[in-house]
């Protein structure tokens, strides 16, 4: 059976990720509770509002549970808001995060909505063809700790990084028809020993 990938469903573009995961060959489950989190092999934190989702994670007791699963090896991918939630800290703001990847992010780094943009982005690990990256009030990465690999940069800042089982993108692959980043994440599930082949 294919891997079961959770999409954190407290707020944000959950359905877009579920559809994109299905297209990439995975089964997807919306995760709002600890019980649902227990069932998944990997977790996507979608786009949304990071202040809102951090509050809801703590109100509904999911923050510690996610941290425990990711520290135990569960693959995690954060897009935009998800990158902020996963980061160690947020530049210039006293905003709590889950501290799952040693990066410092700057929120709304490119500007407000008028500066949101579609960009053909070079991502060498995904091949030569540029990726149609969609940045919406997006964060960028200001500091990268040891062990964090920068997979793509834009305007001089990291916008896609990976450290072991944690992947983070400033942009929104789920809003495109291009499945390459979703497939890359599914390969991470295989790489940490998840059974993606058995019936």
């Amino acid at each position: 059976m294919s891997a079961l990938v959770g999409v954190l469903a407290l707020q944000g573009d959950v359905q877009e990720h579920m559809t994109a995961l299905g297209r990439a060959g995975a089964r997807a489950l919306a995760v709002k509770t600890r019980g649902e989190l227990d069932r998944v092999d990997g977790l996507v934190i979608p786009g949304g509002e990071s202040t809102t989702v951090m509050k809801l994670l703590s109100r509904f007791g999911l923050d510690d549970a996610i941290v425990a699963r990711v520290r135990a090896g569960m693959p995690l991918w954060g897009t935009c808001m998800g990158m902020i939630v996963a980061a160690n800290d947020v530049a210039g703001l006293d905003q709590p995060t889950l501290r799952l990847i040693d990066i410092t992010v700057r929120r709304n780094a490119f500007g407000r909505q008028n500066e949101s943009a579609e960009v053909p982005l070079s991502i060498p690990v995904l091949g030569e063809q540029p990726f149609p990256a969609i940045f919406i009030r997006a964060p960028w990465i200001e500091r990268v700790g040891p062990g964090v690999e920068v997979l793509a940069t834009y305007e001089g800042h990291g916008v896609m990084v990976r450290a072991a089982n944690v992947l983070a993108t400033s942009f929104h692959p789920e809003l495109t028809g291009d499945s390459r980043v979703h497939r890359y994440f599914l390969e991470m599930l295989g790489a940490v020993g998840m059974d993606t082949s058995a019936a």
Partner: protein
């Protein structure tokens, strides 16, 4: 590398990021901070909330830029602001100061009784109200990147929002089972462009995000609208006209997140204790001239 701003994907995309969330009307930076602390995904900056606009009468216009800027400076979440229907110069001004979303809103006094703004001409995305599918698709054809029910703003009465969301979702459901040869007539009947009608018939949903607005004043109201098919909630007067805004704001956020889990909605209701929701109005007793939902076309 070539970057493109203001595309339909980017404008509709911000609304997609707001899904499952609550957008709150605020009239001061302090209220904006309370909203953000409660878990709002965005705020609507305005001088007076709809129930006060209703009470004051007169002409309601775009808010002062000083107020909007003060709210933009106070919070990190997106800030929306309203322009009068058809007042494209107000919209140009809001775009120039960098608000994240423009609401071309029936809550303000219309500037044009025939035409809405050409919303495709802007980098800043627009949200517009609708009472039915035809109105929603006309606004989308003009470039709206997000639709909300109109409801009856400032009434504290959910009945109009229910009517509008049901009208939209019922009409979508009907289109999905309409044979292709009926679509031209359906487009004519609802006064919407055929391409959009055909797209909705094929996909079974609007091409943009659909929120509920107009009359939400309790956690259960929010859960009701989400179960009826809204993808998120605008709360206007319901928070800062209640007698405990912090509690109401948080309770409505919790109920919107867990709208299918009655035990969470019950806990949200219980958290309000004996606090009162905003006073409500019987819409049937309002004179025609005071109804906001009929503005626009």
């Amino acid at each position: 590398m070539e970057q493109q701003t203001g595309t339909a994907t980017v404008k509709r995309g911000l609304a997609q990021m707001l899904k499952g969330g609550v957008i709150m009307d605020v009239v001061t930076p302090e209220q904006a901070v309370i909203a953000q602390e409660a878990g709002a995904v965005a705020v609507m900056a305005l001088e007076r909330i709809p129930s006060d606009i209703r009470a004051m009468g007169g002409v309601a216009r775009m808010s002062s830029l000083e107020l909007i800027q003060g709210i933009m400076d106070a919070v990190t979440i997106p800030v929306m602001a309203k322009v009068r229907i058809g007042h494209f110069a107000e919209a140009q001004v809001l775009q120039s100061i960098g608000v994240d979303y423009i609401d071309e809103s029936e809550v303000l006094t219309p500037a044009d009784d025939l035409y809405h703004c050409d919303k495709q001409a802007y980098t800043t995305p627009f949200v517009c109200g609708a009472r039915d599918l035809g109105e929603a698709l006309r606004r989308i054809a003009e470039g709206a990147a997000m639709i909300r029910s109109k409801g009856e703003a400032g009434s504290g009465n959910i009945v109009e929002a229910v009517r509008h969301i049901r009208a939209i979702t019922d009409a979508i459901a009907m289109l999905t089972v309409s044979p292709k040869e009926e679509l031209v007539a359906r487009a004519r009947d609802i006064g919407a462009p055929l391409e959009l009608v055909a797209e909705v018939a094929r996909t079974g949903k609007l091409p943009v995000v659909l929120f509920c607005a107009g009359g939400v004043s309790t956690p259960a109201d929010a859960a009701l609208m989400m179960q009826l098919g809204a993808e998120g909630i605008f709360v206007g007067s319901g928070i800062f006209k209640s007698n405990d805004p912090k509690k109401f704001a948080r309770a409505i956020v919790d109920a919107t997140t867990h709208y299918t889990d009655a035990s969470v909605v019950a806990a949200a209701c219980r958290s309000l204790g004996t606090s009162d929701a905003m006073p409500g109005l019987d819409i049937r007793k309002l004179p025609e001239s005071e109804l906001m939902a009929g503005r626009g076309n």
